[in-house]
């Protein structure tokens, strides 16, 4: 087929696809600027930033209660950070371990991967039953945290495994041959070179944990995380303040992505090289 005829078709298809992806988010963003008297639907009665002010507690108290998100937002962020650190460290260590072929490595591989395959509701429920049996209190920083790690660790692991797959071992051997210990070699050579992968693993872990719902539902105990709190408000009545919050949290996510992209750009620029050396072989 001629590329000339194909191009506009592909363009339209691409535009439709992007609209499909971002449509819900755009609707949400538009509705967040609804006036004080309007509901969570079209038409927009009046354009205003009322619901943003409502969200931040800058409006006089009225009939509609504020979103109780302050504490749960803090909890979710803390939980996501804890999960990110633990999962990424575990992911890097495990992937490093997998560089040397060992007995039963296949089984261990699937055991790790299981954490992201098993349905979240089942794992959550299972954890709830287990803690009941053992008489352990459920909490977001305990039981839920464990499940978040079980869930995000395989992602971090897979990212790092892919990175190590393309890693040229001779660079580490060069460091060893210069008298540098294995620990220092990891710190001074391996880590700087796999850093872009570590960033990706962190991003995965953070975003997956931040909006995790099903596993948290049964295991977070009395204090709820952000997704649970928002879900809880749906059962009463929906106001556009949820949309306003959605916009803000999306902006937050984009900021994270931007930081990631900038860090990545720097890391890639400083480690470009690798390709050049392989070509020289």
């Amino acid at each position: 087929m001629e590329a000339r005829a194909l191009k506009p078709v592909l363009g339209v298809y691409c535009a439709a696809f992007i609209l499909f992806l971002y449509g819900p988010m755009i609707i949400l963003a538009i509705l967040s600027f609804q006036g004080p008297g309007g509901g969570p639907q079209f038409p927009i009665i009046e354009w205003s930033t009322y619901w943003y002010q409502h969200l931040l507690g800058m409006t006089p108290p009225g009939r509609i209660s504020r979103l109780p998100i302050g504490d749960s937002l803090l909890r979710s962020l803390t939980l996501a950070l804890m999960t990110t650190v633990v999962s990424t460290v575990l992911g890097v260590i495990t992937a490093q371990g997998f560089r040397a072929r060992f007995k039963a490595s296949g089984i261990v591989f699937y055991l790790v991967i299981l954490g992201m395959i098993v349905p979240g509701v089942l794992v959550g429920l299972g954890m709830a039953l287990l803690t009941n049996m053992l008489g352990i209190d459920r909490s977001w920083w305990g039981t839920a945290f464990v499940l978040h790690v079980v869930y995000t660790f395989p992602f971090a692991f897979l990212v790092m495994l892919a990175i190590f797959n393309r890693f040229d071992r001779s660079v580490e051997e060069a460091s060893l041959s210069l008298g540098v210990s294995p620990v220092q070699t990891f710190r001074r050579v391996t880590f700087p070179m796999i850093f872009p992968g570590v960033l990706s693993a962190m991003l995965f872990s953070f975003t997956l944990s931040y909006d995790e719902f099903s596993r948290t539902l049964f295991t977070s105990g009395r204090d709820l995380t952000l997704p649970l709190t928002i879900y809880g408000t749906f059962s009463v009545e929906i106001y556009p303040n949820i949309f306003a919050f959605g916009v803000l949290t999306t902006l937050f996510s984009f900021t994270l992505l931007l930081i990631y992209a900038l860090l990545m750009l720097r890391a890639v620029r400083s480690a470009q090289s690798f390709k050049g050396q392989e070509e020289a072989e």
Binding site: S170, A174, L176, Q272, Q277
Partner: protein, 362 residues
């Protein structure tokens, strides 16, 4: 002195090193010649400690090296692909070992700077200190790799086809420089290569590695003049190897028959291989002269093709039994003949130039 005795290394069913023994004297340039797959890289990796041998001993100055962690062996390694640290500058690559090594790291910044500067001067990279190692040429990377290793002052340096990634021009220059640098620092270089010219040019001593063990060790000139086995002769890429049988103290096979130099102890019918240098053969049209000059032997062969290599012409002939024969004609001599493809020619040589290998074939 580094000595290996009966070192064996297997990968599954493949034996990469087969009871290999060799001594490498101090303050010498030893080149190790081997075809790809002969186990030469495995040998270096065993010495460096990246692989542990399945059997045998690696001893350096009376101490066992096998079992010692690679970073505690004090042996430098220059990699074929250079293996520079891509995230560091030229100067930081060179400083790496001094700065981070386990034993006696150099912490004084001025001393570090001075020693790095010395190493960079040694390999002639002044002015490139701040460059990324990705922003320099192949030859310069090779020098960084060398400086990075030499600055830590190992007494023993392993070089794994260090010139393999360079173009021919640069390779020759680096050869001279490697020799000069080694002589100045009085360290031992063990240089592994698949190129016979490089091995002969570089090494005070040349060792030929074949099928996982050392086939022959000796000074370059004597090794070249008198290979001990057909295998070594093949590695030198300067000998045709013919196989046949001993008949009445002479050689018979490949459509030829000639007396062998010296007395042959082998009995009639024993298998034998002989080596004949590319440049000891002369070619004339078949049947042109019936009479052989006194003592000359001749084989009939069909001409296949010629290669012009600059200073000489390399011609390929095929014997009736399929053996390929190469003939070198140096252009400094009389103008080379032009041969016709698929024509029969007579290849004549002096049987005294033939090197027989009886034990090997038996």
């Amino acid at each position: 002195m580094l000595s290996l005795s009966s070192v064996t290394k297997r990968y599954g069913d493949v034996t990469a090193l087969d009871r290999l023994s060799v001594n490498v004297p101090d303050d010498s340039y030893v080149s190790l010649l081997g075809a790809s797959g002969s186990g030469k890289t495995t040998l270096l990796r065993v010495i460096a400690g990246f692989e542990e041998p399945d059997g045998g001993k690696v001893i350096y100055d009376g101490h066992r090296l096998d079992g010692v962690a690679p970073h505690r062996r004090g042996i430098g390694f220059v990699f074929q692909n250079f293996a520079l640290f891509p995230h560091l500058s030229v100067a930081d690559n060179v400083a790496f070992g001094l700065r981070y090594r386990e034993e006696e790291p150099v912490t004084d910044p001025s001393e570090l700077k001075a020693r790095v500067a010395d190493a960079i001067r040694l390999v002639g990279l002044e002015g490139l200190e701040a460059r990324k190692v990705t922003a320099i040429s192949g030859g310069q990377r090779q020098r960084v790799a060398l400086a990075r290793t030499l600055v830590t002052e190992p007494r023993f340096v392993l070089l794994d086809e260090p010139l393999g990634a360079l173009d021919a021009n640069l390779r020759e220059r680096m050869c001279d420089e490697l020799r000069a640098i080694r002589e100045r620092l009085k360290v031992t270089f063990l240089h592994v290569t698949g190129s016979e010219t490089e091995a002969l040019l570089m090494g005070d001593v040349v060792a030929v590695l074949s099928a996982g063990s050392i086939a022959q060790v000796g000074p370059a000139s004597s090794l070249f003049a008198l290979p001990k086995s057909a295998d070594v002769a093949r590695h030198l890429n300067a000998y045709n190897v013919l196989s046949g049988r001993v008949v009445k103290g002479g050689f018979e096979g490949a459509g030829a028959r000639f007396a062998l130099p010296g007395k042959q102890a082998a009995s009639d019918g024993a298998p034998i291989e002989v080596a004949l240098r590319f440049d000891r053969i002369s070619v004339r049209p078949a049947g042109a002269t019936a009479a052989d000059p006194a003592g000359e032997a001749a084989i009939r062969a069909r001409f296949i093709a010629s290669e012009f290599t600059g200073a000489s012409v390399l011609s390929f002939f095929r014997l009736e039994d399929g053996t390929l024969i190469q003939v070198v004609a140096h252009l400094s001599g009389p103008a080379p003949q032009a041969f016709t493809k698929d024509e029969l020619y007579e290849l004549s040589f002096n049987p005294q130039d033939v090197i027989p290998f009886i034990e090997r074939a038996a």
